[in-house]
């Protein structure tokens, strides 16, 4: 979750949503349009804070009542109950959970039993579809096979391991403390526990050579994960890293270098049987069946509904976005007094909703259905007029565009925001 929360409208104490939400969900369900429901659970603890990280996370083990590593589980479970009541009160039709994702921070800093307790509470509150994906983000230093087996037994299906790099000096710059040699062991342990495994990588760290990055990608592939995410390093405002860049102690990231590394990653991953399905995500799927994608994230990009549990978490229900108090203590205190943990919300207008759909859909291999553009004030005429230029510039696939889908090419993935701006008419 980003550290800076957007300004928004107030949320009523009971967390009730506008009546439009329930109607929208009912309409979708009646029309057979998929509108799934997911759960995100934020665990705001880390043992160290990495210099580049701007997530809402804290290294102190005790942040006040209901917000320490020992009792956070109770607060999270309380919010699950609150979410169920608020949705019920808002007359949003009950839907079983499509996916659950434990993110952080470092969720695996909590005992496995705590994560399982939250998952149990969620299952009891909402139900869960058969074969629902349940992911836990894991730090390779905080998991062992016993821990992973306990998660698997509790219903977790997948772990996402924060590998970042295989190169010690790059990990040092990122201030990651894990030992690179622990990665294969963690992957093997997860496999042994019957879990799917995803590895997270970061490219473009200052001082990382193209060769370093090749080593990282090749090492990741050699671990035989089911899925790999690769993110360019972003210097986020307010991080230690951005202060170091501002003082000239660390070189700023170089977008051209990042472009080279993106191209290299795509080449290596495709050759190893991984298929891109979103700008920064590749699933191991040699037969192109759509296997091993991160279904939870796919739900974000397809504009589905989810509730975000935990401090600073964002939720989205049928076009309404809301977000929780950022500090764990403030968050826990609100829940303890029966008040919604959400401190702001917004209902993006039609133009903003269209922009959201464009920017989410053109990130994906399925692309954007050109009919979505018809929601624009001019019926999509301006956007359509730009499509030939985007094809000519080699940014979108011409054949697919003719068939009615805007799908980015490799260059189009690298310049995805340009496609968005063109289609959104600015």
């Amino acid at each position: 979750m980003p550290a800076v929360l957007p300004l928004g409208d107030p949320v009523p104490d009971d967390g009730r949503l506008p009546s439009s939400c329930g109607e929208a969900v009912r309409r979708s369900l009646a029309a057979g349009v998929p509108r799934t429901f997911s759960l995100y659970v934020h665990v705001p603890f880390c043992t160290v804070r990495c210099g580049y990280c701007d997530f809402n996370t804290y290294t102190a083990p005790d942040l006040g009542p209901g917000a320490s590593r020992g009792d956070y589980v109770d607060t999270a479970v309380a919010e699950v109950g609150f979410a169920r009541r608020a949705l019920e009160d808002s007359e949003v039709p009950a839907r079983p959970l499509h996916t659950v994702f434990f993110g952080g921070g470092t969720p695996t800093l909590l005992p496995a039993a705590h994560l399982v307790r939250i998952l149990d509470a969620a299952r009891e509150a909402f139900g869960m579809v058969d074969g629902a994906e349940v992911t836990v983000e894991a730090n390779p230093d905080t998991v062992d096979e016993a821990y992973l087996r306990e998660l698997a037994a509790g219903g977790v299906t997948r772990v996402s391991v924060g590998m970042q790099s295989a190169v010690p000096h790059v990990l040092a710059t990122l201030e990651r403390t894990h030992r690179p040699e622990n990665i294969p062991a963690a992957v093997d342990a997860a496999r042994a526990a019957g879990l799917d495994v995803s590895l997270d990588l970061i490219y473009g760290t200052p001082g990382e050579s193209l060769g370093d990055w090749r080593t990282t990608v090749e090492t990741a592939i050699a671990c035989r994960p089911d899925h790999i995410s690769a993110y360019s390093l972003i210097v986020e405002e307010g991080t230690k890293f951005s202060a170091q860049v501002a003082r000239g102690q660390v070189a700023d990231v170089d977008p051209d270098d990042q472009a080279d590394k993106y191209l290299l990653a795509d080449e290596l991953l495709e050759a190893a049987g991984f298929r891109w399905y979103e700008v920064s995500n590749w699933a191991h799927d040699p037969q192109e069946t759509g296997a091993h994608r991160a279904e939870h994230n796919v739900a974000y990009w397809r504009d589905m509904d989810w509730w975000g549990i935990g401090p600073g978490s964002h939720s989205h229900v049928a076009g309404v976005r809301f977000w929780n108090a950022k500090h764990p203590a403030a968050y826990a205190q609100r829940l303890a007094t029966g008040v919604t943990p959400a401190v702001g919300r917004e209902v993006p207008d039609a133009e903003a909703r269209l922009l959201e759909q464009i920017m989410l859909h053109v990130r994906m291999v399925e692309g954007l259905d050109v009919r979505v553009l018809e929601q624009a004030e001019d019926g999509g005429a301006a956007a359509r007029a730009r499509i030939p230029q985007l094809i000519a510039a080699g940014l979108i696939d011409g054949g697919l565009a003719q068939a009615g889908r805007i799908v980015p090419t490799l260059q189009g993935r690298l310049r995805n925001d340009h496609i968005v701006r063109e289609l959104a008419g600015f």
Partner: protein
């Protein structure tokens, strides 16, 4: 100390023999306004409790910058040996851009106080004005100010002044405007050394306009010095340069608040109000006479103000264009030297080509537009006026690089300036090197004292207008002072350098320069733009060209990565807002062909090097 005048002479009935008209010649910061304030207090025309610091500098900008833009005239009573005198202090603008106004102020006086900081010595502009005063055969009273300062070295500078004007060092008065020491003695000296004005009381009235100020409530207030005859209220007056007649609604003196009188007689200084709304109808240097009994001969010396420097002024927000037009119309009421014409630029939209007396004038006008009318402006690089003769012998006057004729050129003539620079001797080499590099020709050099030198160069005005003063200051650790005046023109090998973005000419960046400097301008500008213009979706060549010949080139590489790599739950709002912000930002982009150039890039490229607020300080 002389007593205050017990029975001050009555305006309109003052015998010329008890009138003394004087001005103060001083460099900025040498304490002229403080001394003038002290005189107002000493003579009792302003009570201490009414004293605003620097009473006479009325405009805020004047007070803030410590410079006098518009002059004023104040009548003060003073008694010497039992005789009551009327002293008229005519305040003069201190800057070279306003030298014509200075000359008219000088022409209204019989004497001048040469005021010099006792810690700094005389500066170039003071010297120039001193020479001007001597040409007008004014009696000079040399005065060292700020003798209370610890750093004051009055003996040294008294010797310098004595040598300059040919008097004895002990004749140089020593005062402190701050403490008031020496001020009564100075007023006594004004009475005893300056001649009384001479004129014919029974001749047809003639008065010279030495200043003309627009006042929102009263219309134009015209300041005059009566030479012959007499002006009285409710008569029709005539402006001799135009022949226009105006009703005289009010006549009076300032002391320092306006005080209506029954008229003004020979040698008197005062103001006229006629109800005209534009200072152009009441021009500095013109002669006022009576419609009923007009004089035949003008006093002489009148000329129209000539703009020397031109610059394009554009509102940053294009919708402010009407506001800018109205603002210029208003400023014009009070500034006879300001002239402008509408102009359009491909890059900057609608604006005005504005002519100025000099760079300070430009900066003052720009600052007033921004401050008083709340405008955000871009000003293009200032340039001078060129006479371009094409091969078919057509002569084109070029005030804007875009008017520079295409094709073969027979000759280009550029205006020249006579520049005077005063520096400590140790900087002679640095100054000569600079002037030489700016195409200057040495005209002469004089030691004002052992340590200080006056250096004279003939130098193209365009070079002075560009960044000369900043360079001069930086090469002389800030010690140099500069004065210049127009000095004819010369033929020179001048070319127009165009800047092209992706093959499209950006008119705002075109410049007329000497062929030898074209390359350095081209490389400087292309390099600067490369830094200022963000990368685009395609490669953008930036070229500098003379005609069709490319002399410099830079490339802005195409954007290769333009995507936020992470977009999960909480990122969605944030990323959307980022895009919405970009959409807003796009509105501030100017399109040059297909290249998006941020407004800020134009401002940054046009504002650095070429102009500097510091010039206003000299």
């Amino acid at each position: 100390m002389s007593p205050l005048a017990s029975n001050p002479p009555v305006p309109s009935r003052t015998d010329p023999s008890v009138i003394r008209n004087f001005c103060i010649i001083a460099h900025i910061d040498h304490g002229k306004s403080t001394l003038a304030d002290r005189m107002l207090q000493c003579t009792g025309v302003v009570q201490p409790r009414d004293m605003k610091a620097q009473y006479l500098d009325r405009m805020d900008i004047e007070r803030e910058r410590g410079i006098t833009i518009k002059s004023q005239a104040v009548r003060m009573p003073w008694e010497v040996d039992g005789v009551d005198y009327a002293l008229n202090m005519i305040d003069t603008p201190g800057h070279v851009d306003f030298s014509y106004e200075v000359s008219r102020s000088l022409a209204s006086c019989e004497g001048a106080i040469l005021l010099v900081d006792a810690a700094q010595g005389i500066e170039a502009q003071t010297l120039a004005n001193l020479y001007l005063a001597m040409e007008h055969e004014l009696e000079i009273i040399p005065v060292l100010n700020k003798i209370d300062l610890p750093a004051a070295d009055p003996d040294r500078y008294a010797a310098e002044l004595a040598q300059l004007i040919g008097c004895e060092p002990e004749d140089v008065l020593r005062v402190s405007g701050k403490t008031g020491v020496g001020v009564p003695e100075l007023l006594d000296r004004v009475v005893t050394s300056l001649p009384a004005p001479v004129g014919q009381a029974d001749a047809p009235a003639r008065a010279m306009i030495f200043d003309s100020v627009y006042d929102t409530y009263r219309g134009v207030v015209t300041y005059v010095r009566v030479v012959d005859g007499r002006l009285t209220p409710r008569e029709k007056i005539r402006m001799m340069s135009t022949g226009a007649a105006h009703e005289l609604l009010e006549i009076g003196v300032s002391s320092p608040e306006p005080q209506p009188t029954e008229g003004l007689g020979v040698g008197e200084v005062g103001y006229l109000i006629t109800g005209v709304k534009d200072v152009r109808q009441s021009k500095v240097g013109d002669t006022v006479t009576l419609e009923s009994d007009p004089a035949e001969q003008e006093i002489g010396g009148y000329r129209d103000p000539q703009p020397m420097v031109f610059s394009g002024l554009y509102p940053i927000d294009g919708s402010d264009y009407p506001v800018l037009r109205d603002a210029l119309d208003k400023l014009k009421l009070n500034d006879a030297a300001l002239n402008y014409e509408p102009e359009t630029s491909v890059a900057l939209g609608f604006g005005f080509r504005v002519g100025f007396l000099g760079l300070l004038h430009l900066e003052i006008v720009r600052e007033r537009l921004e401050r008083e009318f709340d405008l955000d402006l871009i000003s293009t690089m200032p340039n001078v006026v060129y006479q371009v003769t094409t091969e078919d012998r057509t002569v084109v006057e070029v005030t804007n690089p875009s008017e520079f004729p295409e094709g073969k050129i027979h000759e280009v003539r550029e205006p020249m300036a006579a520049a005077t620079i005063i520096v400590p001797a140790e900087f002679i080499g640095a100054v000569m090197e600079l002037c030489q590099s700016k195409r200057g020709h040495l005209q002469g050099m004089d030691y004002l004292s052992e340590e200080r030198v006056e250096i004279r160069y003939r130098i193209p005005l365009a070079e002075i207008v560009f960044d000369f003063f900043d360079s001069l200051k930086s090469r002389t650790k800030g010690y140099a002072s500069l004065n210049w005046g127009a000095d004819g023109d010369q033929a020179a090998d001048l070319v127009k350098v165009d800047i092209l973005l992706q093959g499209d000419q950006v008119d705002a960046f075109s410049a007329i320069t000497h062929r030898d400097f074209a390359y350095s301008y081209g490389t400087m500008m292309t390099a600067k733009l490369k830094e200022l213009i963000p990368r685009q979706q395609f490669e953008v060549p930036i070229q500098a060209a003379i005609g069709s010949r490319i002399i410099a080139r830079e490339n802005i590489r195409a954007i290769r990565k333009d995507v936020l790599s992470k977009c999960y739950g909480g990122d969605i709002s944030r990323k959307r807002k980022l895009l919405e912000k970009q959409k807003e930002g796009k509105k501030r982009m100017k399109m040059v062909g297909t290249v998006e150039v941020p407004q800020e890039a134009f401002i940054a490229a046009l504002s650095s090097d070429s102009s500097s607020a510091d010039k206003g300080k000299k």
